[in-house]
């Protein structure tokens, strides 16, 4: 006689489906910040902090569209190359992103930790590669970044952060 699937089997199936569902994921660590910094430099970079005076905070507010909460920002530097780990809210959660800038030119950008339920496509290279080679021109990126349907808020947040990273690099190396 064939046994009918038990209720436990169905509960297990539902739980497994929930675990596989990308929408159910709360926080996705794609790359540990430490690993990002290690990969950004050849050799050991120097860890530094940039203290924000009133003028810098005003500039950051212009870039982000809201006041920046904090008085100092940590960064890593070796020669003219700097790395920044910055955070900005996409819709309701913070997106942690790593930027590498050299001589005012964006070298790479990577989404390190994504916490939103939607818009995680911004971590893929087809999107992040657009930031390579970008520079600041009159406070804006020199080339328009193509968006992703359904991830507009995350795209906007990362675009703001990339401008912030380029701006901070300029302040840190001057």
């Amino acid at each position: 006689m064939r046994r009918r699937p038990s209720i436990r089997f169905f509960i297990g199936l539902c739980l497994a489906a929930g675990g596989l569902n990308p929408l159910a994921a709360a926080e996705q660590v794609y790359l540990e910040p430490e690993a990002f910094i290690a990969g950004a430099f050849e050799g050991e970079p120097e860890q530094k902090v940039l203290w924000l005076n009133r003028e810098l905070k005003t500039s950051l507010e212009d870039i982000l569209g809201h006041p920046y909460k904090g008085l100092r920002i940590r960064y890593w530097r070796k020669g003219e190359r700097t790395a920044w780990i910055l955070e900005e809210i996409g819709k309701v959660e913070l997106i942690t992103t790593g930027f590498v800038v050299e001589n005012g030119v964006m070298q790479s950008m990577e989404v390190l930790i994504y916490r939103e339920s939607h818009g995680w496509e911004v971590r893929f290279p087809f999107f992040t590669n657009q930031f390579k080679g970008r520079v600041l021109k009159d406070g804006k990126l020199d080339k328009k970044i193509d968006g992703i349907s359904g991830a507009t808020l995350s795209v906007n947040a990362l675009t703001r952060l990339s401008r912030m990273a380029l701006f901070l690099h300029g302040e840190a190396v001057q």
């Binding site: 660590v29 540990e32 910040p33 430490e34 860890q47 530094k48 902090v49 909460k69 904090g70 008085l71 100092r72 920002i73 940590r74 780990i85 930790i113």
Partner: protein, 251 residues
């Protein structure tokens, strides 16, 4: 075919039991309905609910859930549901404090998963997540026999430099710097609660949800639905009893 009327005893019994069972909920419906109809006169929107049990039904917290510690002499560092407050004002997101180190330029608050830097005036400087630190769990802030700050973590003890930028392993004696609990006054408690969850609940909201049964979630709504059905059945059984009496009287 002739429709047979139910027996008088059956009808009466059904009517009686339905009446008794639904009476409790009918009283609740009537009283809350009356109050809601006179919201302005009774000022229901101006009365705030502070009861912890009711607040918890809405996923809100009461003032008794706030943890507070002394910082910078007379200021307070408070924690409520993943948020830290400095003298009643939101400071940063984070877990409950496990350590505090005060120094001249700035102070450092340790939670299990982050270091939070604040000025002596309570202004937020920076948050350093453990993902950026050489350990995963912060346990305490301690001090070395020379009086230098140390971090006690799951990966041993670490000594920060003067700016708390770099950390190096430390082996040696240490004593834990304790956190000193503080009492916050009612104004401070209200300030934290307002910052955390707005102005809270009005009596109008609670009565409306009690009226519809939503206050008790899915179960409450179902009970109120059943009460509504019971009223219809009471009306039907009452009319049936009356008709039965009339038909019998004609015969």
């Amino acid at each position: 075919m002739k429709l047979a009327w139910p027996r008088k005893r059956t009808l009466l019994a059904a009517h009686r039991w339905l009446g008794i069972i639904s009476a409790v909920f009918l009283v609740s419906l009537s009283l809350t309905g009356l109050a809601l109809n006179h919201t302005e006169r009774l000022g229901l929107n101006n009365i705030r609910i502070k009861n912890g049990l009711i607040l918890s039904r809405y996923g809100m917290v009461s003032g008794s859930d706030i943890l507070s510690f002394r910082i910078h002499g007379f200021d307070t560092l408070s924690y409520l549901e993943g948020q830290l407050f400095y003298s009643g004002q939101p400071l940063a997101t984070g877990g409950p404090p496990v350590g505090l180190h005060e120094q001249r330029e700035f102070s450092v608050i340790a939670t299990i998963e982050a270091l939070i830097f604040v000025t002596r005036e309570g202004e937020f400087i920076e948050r350093m997540d453990v993902l950026q630190l050489p350990f995963a769990v912060l346990q305490f802030i301690a001090s070395s026999p020379e009086g230098e700050p140390l971090l006690v973590t799951d990966a041993g003890q670490w000594k920060p430099d003067a700016d708390w930028i770099e950390f190096e392993p430390y082996e040696g004696g240490f004593s834990v710097e304790p956190l000193y609990p503080a009492e916050i006054d009612e104004a401070g408690r209200q300030s934290i609660l307002e910052a955390h969850q707005g102005n809270g609940l009005t009596l109008y909201r609670v009565l409306l949800d009690l009226h519809s049964g939503r206050l008790f979630g899915w179960g409450g709504r179902t009970v109120m639905d059943l009460t509504a059905v019971a009223i219809l059945l009471l009306v039907s059984s009452g009319i049936a009893g009356w008709l039965r009496k009339s038909v019998w009287a004609r015969h």
